[in-house]
Symmetry: C2
Subunit: 151 residues, 2 copies
């Protein structure tokens, strides 16, 4: 009852989503945090205050973003995009990513308005350049029937 | 506006949750999947069909489970439990874990009713023995104000 999504279906889910769970590797173990993101078809853009995920991603740039829609344990889909973290330092690239994020989240604080310390913004904007997108979905009659979202 | 949760608060969120995002390390990169789970205060129990997460966890037993409640980008909490994967092979342990999962998800297929091949159930039941629980929360007035769930 659980089937692979096509890449097109997984991309559609990723494009529609607003909250994803960003996975990274921190000191050889997994670390997962919810993030708001924007996806332009090639990269996922996130902006972030300093914290563990930036520390983790700077040390190991491999990242994934998992996005799902869960109606119930028997009706759900989940996509995952794998890619490489890259922090945006170029002011034009930062501005473009900010515009993308603000278009999706109009109430976000414009990143460049966050107080700047020592000439550098304390807010990082980064992208995950996507290398692979996959997904799985279950569409079962309401249970009992399958072991739920545990494949 | 983003603050650390106490361990008690993070435990409460973890206990109340039904869907979490399981993070593991697959071939040195991160892998994240949604799972239904039950938490008994010490371990998180999951049952699973064969797939990438089992392959990943058997190779590298470090795991985390991230659970959140997101009202909006300015009002959310997220807990993460870190621990070690252990597959349950003892029939008494499997039965106890099954009961815990079935109590939480009454419509789940009882694991032991899944067809058995070569004398072994094709469904794995595993636990993540929890070593650390942390969490962060944001309770801001509706934005603009903060950079959203990206700390």
């Amino acid at each position: 009852m659980i089937s692979r999504m096509t890449e097109a279906e997984a991309r559609t889910l990723l494009t529609a989503g607003r909250v994803g769970r960003l996975g990274c590797v921190y000191k050889d173990g997994p670390y997962v945090i919810p993030v708001n993101y924007a996806f332009d078809g090639d990269s996922i853009f996130v902006h972030s205050l300093p914290g563990r995920k930036l520390e983790a991603l700077r040390a190991n740039p491999r990242a994934c973003l998992q996005v799902d829609e869960i109606d119930n344990p028997y009706h759900w889909q989940s996509a995952i995009a794998y890619g490489v973290f890259e922090e945006l330092t170029d002011s034009n690239e930062r501005a473009a990513a900010s515009r993308l994020l603000l278009a999706r989240f109009p109430n976000l604080t414009p990143v460049e308005s966050v107080p700047v310390h020592d000439g550098q913004s304390s807010v990082s904007i980064f992208r995950i350049q996507i290398q692979e997108i996959t997904g799985v979905a279950e569409k079962s009659p309401s249970g009992p029937g399958t072991p739920s979202i545990t494949a």
